[in-house]
Amino acid sequence: MELTRLLLFAQETVAQTAGSESSGGQLMLLLTVFVLAIFIGFEIITKIPPTLHTPLMSGSNAISGISLIGALLTALSGEPAMSRILGTLAIILATMNVVGGFLVTHRMLGMFRKKKG
């Protein structure tokens, strides 16, 4: 339902930003990318054994730390001081998410390895 809300939202704005877009317009393409990626996500997580729920959760959580890239882009774009500070804070937070997330997933998966009896 979060999703449909977002889509409705998007739809509204598109409607607002006057009819200047073609189906190759940027926003349109961004939306296409969004929809396709959602499909891939759904397609991939179909049958997954319960044992892997927790590692998958933590691994995909690390991937969601991709906002690190957004943080870098804003922190890099210089000036106003305020936005650089926010950007740097975002970098710290996102890096923790990414580094910690992948590492903890790795540790967790280590526990699942087949051991000798």
Binding site: Q26, L76, S77, L103
Partner: protein
């Protein structure tokens, strides 16, 4: 490096993320999938940095340095059993990062030009979802960590309050889009409302439902990142974010199905309280027999096939090492010892697998529910170690039970059942368990670890 190559390398990174996520869904490829994902992230950072000509190394290095060190320390020092709450914590950080990125970018573009309303909508979405994710995750962390000052709080009108906060957030978003001159103000006001929304949304949910909530919040943090991608017109953020958003949503759904509940029920409902319409505990437990470690040892001495069914109590008692010793001892004596692992035993998916693996129990001794049920009739002694709901025959027999329809491990079909728990108090679902009162059931009232240690001692003596 020319930005063309960065563009193309972003495509490679996207493919790596997809392969990584795909890998995480199969036991054999999971480790590689996780490594692929982290490689993708590393490449994304490197390429992004290479794409900007001049930049201030100091702040970037500082940020990444602090974040990485903190992340490594947290990830390495955490106890295996505390991993779910750590994931929640990290997830919250990701959400807050989205809030900050959107906020920073808003300041930036307002200085330069008047942004299109599509960018503003995306900014608002990023802030709203990110903020809910942040406080929601923090609360999930606190609950799982069982921090003292956190209680499950429910008050009348809570749903109304949540609805009000959500509407408030949306109204502020609309204002933000319509009057960019005050966009900064509206943005941070909206963030505050959303932070509150995150708190009140999660505060009423029981600690045991947290895994589902975390999966949901994880999906949110993905969507927040995707929204940030729309803000920055960045394909990489959109793809990675929506991958996580979609897979988190599915995972939430799958986990709900495994627990036989609906998402609505998890977020808004409460499980049937124990005083509800279910059978009365006193009636059910009229004929309960209790036993002692020595008696259990005697039963085990003549057994040739033993199944141990661990549950949340084993995690609480940290009994996994003791049980490993017991299993080794029995195996050496020629007894066939197997573990029956229910998919939702404990409080997180794979909880039992993780604990038992930590105690070096051989992988092939762990049997899934269907496999162990198939041989249950030949089992001499079934030891139920701190499990309750997952062995409750009412799930199959009583259609009115709150756990009706949940598949169980059919311990009741074993010749003798030994139940180790501290009292007759109910488990997570709050319902009495007729298994305990069966003819061939014996209760061993004790802390899980201590009980196992005592049984082993008695076996060694005997």
């Amino acid at each position: 490096m020319s930005s063309v190559w960065i563009d193309l390398s972003y495509l490679v990174v996207i493919a790596l993320f997809i392969f990584g996520l795909k890998g995480l869904t199969h036991p054999r490829s999971a480790v590689r999938g996780n490594l692929l994902g982290s490689l993708a992230m590393l490449l994304a950072v490197v390429f992004t940095l290479m794409g900007t000509e001049q930049f201030d190394w100091s702040l970037i290095a500082l940020g990444i340095g602090i974040g990485a060190v903190a992340g490594v320390i947290l990830a390495l020092r955490i106890q295996m059993t505390a991993m779910p709450q750590l994931v929640a914590l990290f997830n919250g950080f990701g959400g807050l990062a989205s809030v900050f990125v959107a906020g920073a970018y808003l300041i930036l573009i307002l200085k330069k030009s008047s942004p299109g309303s599509d960018v503003l909508v995306a900014t608002a979405a990023s802030g709203l979802i990110g903020a809910v994710t942040f406080t929601g995750s923090l609360l999930a962390f606190a609950k799982l960590q069982e921090l003292k000052f956190i209680k499950d709080i429910r008050f009348p009108g809570q749903k109304l309050l949540n609805l009000g906060l959500l509407i408030g957030g949306i109204v502020l978003s609309v204002l933000l889009v319509n009057s960019p001159e005050h966009a900064n103000l509206y943005y941070w006001l909206m963030v505050v409302l959303s932070l509150a929304l995150g708190v009140f949304l999660v505060i009423s949910i029981g600690g045991a439902d947290m895994p589902v909530v975390i999966a949901m919040l994880n999906s949110f943090s993905g969507l927040a990142a995707a929204a940030t991608g729309f803000v920055l017109s960045n394909n990489l953020l959109i793809v990675a974010g929506s991958l996580v958003g979609a897979s988190g949503l599915i995972l939430t759904q799958i986990m709900c199905v495994a627990m036989n509940r609906s998402l609505i029920n998890v977020v808004f409902g409460k499980l049937q309280p124990s005083s509800g319409s279910g059978p009365d505990a006193d009636v059910v437990y009229a004929n309960v027999k209790s036993t002692s470690p020595d008696e259990v040892a005697i039963q085990l001495e003549v057994a040739s096939r033993v199944v141990i069914i661990p549950g949340y109590g084993m995690a609480v008692a940290q009994a996994q090492h003791a049980v490993s010793d017991l299993s080794d001892f029995l195996t050496e004596r020629g007894v066939i010892v197997e573990f029956g692992i229910h998919p939702v035993a404990g409080r997180m998916p794979g909880h039992m697998n993780v604990l038992l693996a930590e105690a070096d129990i051989p992988y092939d001794q762990l049997k899934e529910m269907d496999e162990i049920n198939a041989t249950m009739d030949q089992v001499d002694v079934a030891i139920v170690l701190g499990a309750n709901d997952v062995v409750n025959p009412d799930a199959a027999n009583d259609p009115n039970s709150p756990i009706a329809g949940m598949p169980i491990i059919e311990a009741h079909r074993a010749r003798t059942i030994v139940v180790i728990k501290r009292s007759l108090s109910p488990g997570f679902a709050g319902v009495p368990n007729p298994l305990f009162a069966l003819e061939n059931s014996f209760m061993l009232f004790a802390d899980g670890r201590q009980a196992v240690v005592d049984i082993l001692a008695a076996l060694r003596e005997g």
